[in-house]
């Protein structure tokens, strides 16, 4: 499964960068989301994956008795998911707003400041 996950991560990175390289703003945001997912999975994989042993201490015990998944990568990814949501929602609304003002979805038409145009 690790190999499959590594391939998935590669695919997500490739797709993310490809979408970021497009000129459409919508595609740019999709690209960022895909890239973010790829990064999350990468952290998850490199923290070593464990099947069926969530890092939750059993009811009747104070410490782990059996093997458990490393909680640190999970805490990191959880933070990353939430933060990237903040970024994405802001970016999506910004695109909407920008489109309303400059009437284009094309990045290349947005690279001039007000003074130049």
């Amino acid at each position: 499964m690790e190999i499959l996950l590594a391939i998935i991560i590669g695919v997500l990175y490739a797709a993310g960068i490809y979408m970021i390289l497009r000129r459409s703003l919508v595609k740019l945001i999709i690209g960022i989301i895909l890239l973010g997912n790829g990064a999350n999975l990468l952290i998850f994989l490199l923290g070593r994956i464990t099947e069926g042993a969530p890092p939750i201490i059993p009811e009747d015990s104070k410490v782990f008795l059996e093997a458990y998944a490393d909680p640190v990568p999970q805490a990191l990814i959880l933070t990353a998911i939430v933060i990237s949501f903040g970024l994405q929602s802001f970016a999506i609304i910004l695109v909407k707003r920008a489109h309303k003002v400059v009437k284009t979805d094309d990045l290349d038409e947005m690279n001039a400041t007000d003074e130049d145009s």
């Binding site: 690790e2 960068i17 490809y18 459409s24 909680p71 959880l78 970024l87 290349d108």
Partner: protein
């Protein structure tokens, strides 16, 4: 001693707050600071002349051997006295010269800052603190030279001076570090005892070159000399202070300080003789072509510095003696001439020597000072200048090699310097007073008194050389590592070659003064060769550098996001790819891997299909939906591999994002085909390359052992310390609670942003702008 050095810094800080009291009549009081310091240092003369060395050490960064250690020996004492003594006169002179200036207090602040930095420089016994003070003099002189900051030429020359001396500063630091690593200490006194080890080191030449570049840039030696004439844009008190006794002598000081450590080798001596020789002749000739009084003085200063470097290079006892005397001579007459020039400029409004004559009728005291200084500069007896010149000639005639060339060069330089001194000190005062200057007023007492004090000292020291002999000159020579006890300074040494050379110099120089008048025509003629001067070469260099920078910036900062991304990704792929292919080591231990079940395989296939659909679909709605599928598939992977919290978060966030996207999307135009086939292929290859690199990287990391120490700590203490059983939750809200608080803050800011953007209603006028 620390207080003495810090006094200038403290006064500068004090002026920031109390500046307005020093703008008016009280300004002259600030001269008490250098005056007091002068008295303080003068009180050490008896001790130093009896051969004592006073040192004080204050620890600063003991771990790196960086201390504030100060050493007062003959060399330091001479420089300290010049810095504070001439400082005292310049401070007083400024009170009148810049009377009523809006920023007079600021000027005093810069001056005292500079004075303190110079004192620190000449007293430091630690190379690193010496470097710090060295840089402080560069910085404070930048402010002084650029004091008339409304004038573009002034700003430019301040920048040139800072650039050149700062450049030298780098070399000083490099030299200090190199010497520190050779000897294992930064203390100059300790290096003295390791002369053999340094000379034998393979880095000896390099260390000497570094010290040379530092000294040559500071002391305006060829080819770094051009910042000095430019620095004449500064108010005259600055020129007086910086160029007669302090700033430019710092390089000379450095060379003298290191003579006992690095000196006495063929490389050291030959280089100094050649560079000093070229500088003294080159700039003495240049002085002939100037009509601006300060221009004449600037070039003659460079020439005098060249003579000093040359004398240090000769490296004999008599050369050191000559150098020590010449430093005093030069400080006295050059400061006087600068002060006189400043008075002329201040009263008449011009420094063009062709328009000045007969001013003695208006300002007799100034004329006396000017003429006395010119005599000392020319080396006519009984001035101290004569002593200096005799000693210089004596040292030159005893040079070991190329004696003839050396003697010719030095005599030629002295003749030209005589001319320069006469032009600056005598020419403005003799002859007829032109109509234009009939109404010129006489200067203040505060202005002419400093000039005349210095000029008279120049003669007094000449008649009574014993005044400076054992007090100043001999201690300097012994600091340089030579013993000069058998020498005696005297005006009369009997008839010999040296006297003959002196007579030739004076005769030819005076003749030259009568036949060659400074004229604007000569100045334009030399201007034609400007394009091959080091100055214009450097200016062209900086010009091309800025053109190149602009080109470079335009290539990489072109305003297209995808070009930035391409550059970054390409760099990453090439770099990481190179490392991985240079070291192929992807070994996968199949026994360690977890099994793939049928439902996992199904999720993987859905995920990959989702990604492809997102990328290649023509419909935006479909792309967003497919992206949602990808997110949910990842959610399932989290479920399979023991991360229920992640799965829940991913599920809700993914759903929210898709909903938000769809809400916004229907207002946007349809996808346009904005890129052609070729671009897509290119981007595709780049993306695939990155994907492959990341994939291989992940596999390679998996082959490495992992460290779960941190995770184990949290798992062990989650319940015991924080009373929670879900370890991930405990980490987020307890162990790393502050981080989570910050995260909440970030989310709130983002929410405020979203809200603001949604509610923002631009007026039509705003939108059209």
């Amino acid at each position: 001693m620390l207080t003495a050095i810090l006094l200038g810094f403290l006064f500068a800080i004090f002026l920031v707050f109390a500046g307005k009291f020093f703008r008016g009549k009280l300004a002259v009081l600030s001269a008490l600071i250098p005056g007091g310091l002068f008295a303080y240092f003068a009180s050490f003369i008896p001790q130093i002349s009896s051969g004592e060395i006073i040192s004080k050490t204050y620890q600063w960064v003991p771990a790196f051997g960086v201390d504030l250690s100060f050493k007062l020996d003959g060399l330091s004492l001479l420089f300290s006295l010049m810095i504070t003594g001439i400082g005292f006169l310049v401070f007083a002179y400024t009170a009148s010269y810049l009377r009523g200036h809006k920023y007079l207090d600021r000027f005093y602040g810069y001056l005292s800052l500079f004075m303190a930095a110079m004192l620190g420089l000449v007293l430091s016994d630690n190379l690193i603190s010496l470097f710090v003070f060295w840089e402080l003099t560069s910085i404070s002189s930048f402010f002084l030279i650029g004091f008339n900051n409304t004038n573009p030429a002034s700003r430019k020359s301040a920048l040139t001076a800072l650039g050149i001396t700062g450049f030298g500063g780098f070399f000083l630091l490099a030299g200090a570090l190199l010497l520190g690593s050779i000897t294992g200490t930064y203390s100059i006194s300790e290096m003295l005892s390791m002369k053999e080890a340094i000379a034998g080191s393979e880095y000896y030449i390099l260390a000497v070159i570094f010290i040379f570049v530092a000294a040559f840039t500071k002391s305006a030696q060829f080819p770094f000399h051009f910042w000095l004439p430019g620095a004449m844009k500064a108010p005259t008190p600055v020129s007086t202070y910086l160029h007669s006794a302090t700033m430019v002598k710092a390089g000379i000081y450095l060379l003298m300080r290191f003579t006992p450590v690095l000196g006495d080798s063929e490389f050291w001596n030959t280089t100094l003789i050649i560079v000093g020789g070229i500088t003294m002749v080159y700039s003495a000739i240049h002085a002939l072509f100037r009509t601006d009084l300060k221009g004449v003085l600037a070039y003659s200063t460079i020439s005098a510095l060249g003579i000093l470097v040359f004398l240090i290079g000769l490296g004999t006892k008599s050369a050191f003696l000559a150098a020590a005397v010449f430093i005093i001579v030069h400080a006295l007459y050059k400061a006087t001439l600068f002060l006189v020039t400043g008075i002329i400029d201040h009263q008449t409004g011009t420094r063009d020597v062709t328009k000045l004559s007969g001013l003695r009728k208006i300002m007799m005291p100034v004329a006396i000072a000017g003429i006395l200084a010119a005599i000392s500069s020319a080396g006519i007896p009984p001035s101290v200048g004569f002593l200096g010149k005799e000693l210089t000639y004596e040292a030159s005639t005893h040079a070991e090699t190329f004696t003839i060339i050396i003697v010719i060069a030095i005599v030629l330089t002295k003749i030209l310097l005589l001319w320069a001194g006469f032009v600056a000190g005598i020419k403005p005062f003799v002859g007829k007073l032109p109509e234009a200057h009939k109404d010129v007023k006489a200067p203040d007492f505060l202005m002419w008194a400093p000039a005349i004090i210095l000029a008279v000292l120049g003669i007094v020291f000449g008649i009574f050389p014993m005044l400076i002999e054992s007090a100043l000159v001999k201690p300097v020579v012994s600091s340089l590592g030579a013993d000069a006890s058998e020498y005696h300074l005297a005006l009369w040494h009997g008839f010999n070659t040296v006297l003959l050379l002196s007579a030739i110099t004076i005769a030819v120089g005076v003749l030259l003064y009568f036949f060659l008048k400074p004229s604007a025509k000569l100045e334009t003629r030399i201007g034609k060769f400007e394009f091959i001067s080091p100055k214009s070469i450097m200016e062209k260099g900086t010009h091309y550098f800025s053109v190149f920078s602009a080109f470079w910036t335009n290539v990489f900062q072109n305003g297209y996001l995808r070009n930035y991304v391409t550059t970054i990704v390409l760099f990453l792929v090439v770099l990481v790819g190179y490392v991985m292919f240079g070291n192929p080591r992807v070994m996968i231990d199949h026994t360690q891997l977890s099994k793939v079940t049928a439902y996992e395989l199904a999720v993987v296939i859905i995920l990959i299909a989702g990604v492809f659909y997102t990328v290649f679909t023509k419909s935006r709605l479909a792309a967003v939906a497919a992206m949602g599928v990808v997110g949910l598939a990842i959610c399932l992977i989290f479920v399979f591999y023991s991360a229920p919290d992640l799965a829940m978060t991913q599920f809700s966030i993914d759903t929210l994002t898709v909903i938000l996207f769809v809400l916004v999307l229907y207002r946007l135009p349809k996808y346009l085909t904005l890129s052609d086939y070729k671009m897509r292929i290119r981007d595709g290859i780049l993306s695939l390359a990155l994907g492959t690199v990341i994939c291989l990287l992940a596999l390679q990391v998996l082959a490495e052992p992992t460290n779960t120490e941190v995770g184990d700590f949290y798992a062990k203490n989650a319940y015991i310390l924080a009373h929670g059983k879900n370890v991930v939750n405990v980490i987020l809200v307890d162990f790393r609670g502050t981080d989570t608080l910050m995260e909440i803050a970030v989310l709130s800011i983002s929410a405020i942003g979203v809200f603001g953007l949604l509610k923002l209603r631009l007026k039509s006028t705003d939108r059209s702008q």
